[in-house]
């Protein structure tokens, strides 16, 4: 059974970032954030992400990102007898998510600060 290589696993794991995922970094961040509070299967992920981010990941997009994350060792499938296979965050995935969110927070803080300085508002 073919499995994706850990082509960028090394860089993602050592640098702890999701930038190597390119255009999949968006869905990947949402999925990892959702899995941060426990294992979930596909539909539960969709509903959770919709609830906290207001974004509904379509099935194809969700599984494209999930398979990439699994290939890079950031998430892992939980053994299950159910047809709905749950996924859980790995330690490498937790590190990558933490680093990525911290970088996003710095960007958000800078943007908000500059907006407040030049454009007013709260």
């Amino acid at each position: 059974m073919p499995r994706r290589t850990k082509r960028v696993e090394e860089s993602a794991a050592t640098a702890g970032t999701l930038t190597a995922l390119g255009r999949y970094a968006g869905p990947a961040t949402l999925i990892l954030s959702s899995l941060a509070d426990g294992a979930k299967h596909g539909y539960a992920l969709t509903k959770d992400i919709e609830a906290f981010a207001g974004i509904r990941l379509a099935p194809g997009t969700l599984y494209e990102a999930l398979s990439r994350l699994e290939g890079q060792g950031l998430v892992a499938a939980v053994p299950s007898d159910d047809r709905k296979r749950p996924y859980t965050l790995t330690a490498v995935g937790a590190t990558a998510l933490r680093t990525h969110l911290a970088a996003q927070r710095r960007t958000a803080e800078v943007g908000l600060k500059r907006l407040a300085g030049n454009w007013g508002g709260t």
């Binding site: 059974m1 390119g22 979930k40 596909g42 959770d48 099935p59 159910d82 047809r83 296979r85």
Partner: protein
């Protein structure tokens, strides 16, 4: 908290809530049928790994949003991307022998496209040389180089085919040829159509058969005629329907049918390579041969370029460069790039893996 396993009991009634009770079995059946059809967009290997759970997600999504065109578009797009990935044609890299086989399959496709166009171009030049030698050194050198490239292709194809055929025969003998029967039948069917049809049209064409100088060309007239007949579909007549309508019906049928036969051979070959268990030494050998094929492709492209830049119409216009030749050269360059990319990916995974 909406986490597994707590989510399952919560979500199931939520999904079912959207269907009226008396319609539930019908809707469930419809959702399952729709999900099954969507799943077919993904390659077999992907379905084996993710198929069951993805079906569950699709069925729940279908129950919640029965008529979502965006879901269909999303699944189709990602399914096609997955097929390209598993064929070794996108940025994703598979593991070890999977990537080698995927690259080999991509190489088969690109080399087949290259050869079809290249042989079409080469056979016209070969037939021209049967009648008269080119009067321009550029054309002469280019045609000789193209002939050498074609000969190298033929030798490499033979060397690449033999170990795969041997492995397939062994798999059948050991009753381990799961999923290989249909691809082998496809290859046999396609090759039979191509060989019989090409021989028929090559023999029936007077261009290489009856003139007094037959045999003065670079290759035997029969080889040139066979190559010409097998690639008869590569012609600019397709954009001249009035002229095309004057062709005999049998020839038109062959022009439409031969590409289908070629496609059948390529599909069968790709499926065979993807399904047969090739040993590490055989894969290494196939990759080395593929590198040789890529070199021959480069030689052929360079020679075609020389012919187009330096060549002229030649005696009696036998070596005239047409729009179809420029189109063929451009397409061959694209095929070459795909081949080099596939080869590079296979090597990268072998060195990093």
């Amino acid at each position: 908290m909406n986490t597994w396993p707590h989510a399952a009991p919560h979500d199931a009634p939520h999904a079912a809530h959207h269907a009226a009770p008396h319609d539930a079995p019908h809707d469930a059946h419809h959702a399952a049928h729709h999900a099954e059809r969507l799943l077919r967009w993904y390659p077999l290997a992907w379905r084996e790994r993710y198929g069951v759970e993805f079906m569950e997600l699709l069925m729940e999504d279908c129950a919640e949003r029965p008529h979502s065109t965006s879901r269909t578009a999303d699944v189709v797009a990602n399914g096609v991307m997955a097929r390209l990935s598993y064929a070794g044609l996108t940025g994703s890299v598979l593991e070890g022998t999977d990537q080698a086989r995927a690259s080999l399959a991509a190489l088969i496709c690109s080399v087949a496209a290259f050869l079809t166009l290249g042989v079409s171009m080469w056979s016209q030049l070969m037939i021209g040389w049967q009648w008269s030698e080119p009067d321009s050194p550029g054309t002469a050198v280019a045609v000789v180089a193209m002939t050498i490239a074609v000969a190298v292709f033929a030798a490499l194809a033979l060397c690449a085919t033999l170990p795969v055929v041997w492995t397939v025969v062994r798999a059948f003998a050991q009753r381990q040829a799961h999923g290989l029967g249909r691809p082998v039948i496809l290859i046999g069917l396609g090759l039979t159509i191509l060989v019989v049809g090409s021989r028929h049209f090559a023999n029936g064409w007077p261009g290489t058969g009856g003139h007094p100088w037959a045999g003065q060309g670079l290759v035997p007239g029969g080889v040139a005629a066979f190559s010409w007949a097998s690639t008869l579909s590569i012609t600019s007549y397709w954009v001249h329907p009035t002229a095309l309508s004057t062709f005999p019906l049998s020839e038109l049928c062959w022009m439409l049918g031969s590409p289908v036969a070629m496609a059948i051979v390529v599909v069968g070959s790709v499926k065979t390579v993807r399904r047969v268990h090739l040993s590490e030494p055989v894969l290494r050998m196939e990759m080395a041969l593929a590198a040789g094929a890529a070199s021959a492709m480069v030689l052929f492209v360079l020679a075609s370029g020389v012919w187009m830049l330096n060549g002229g119409p030649g005696p009696r216009g036998l070596f005239t460069i047409g729009a179809i030749d420029r189109f063929a050269l451009l397409s061959m360059v694209l095929s070459l790039l795909v081949a080099i990319r596939s080869l590079g990916r296979a090597r990268r995974v072998r060195t990093t893996g």
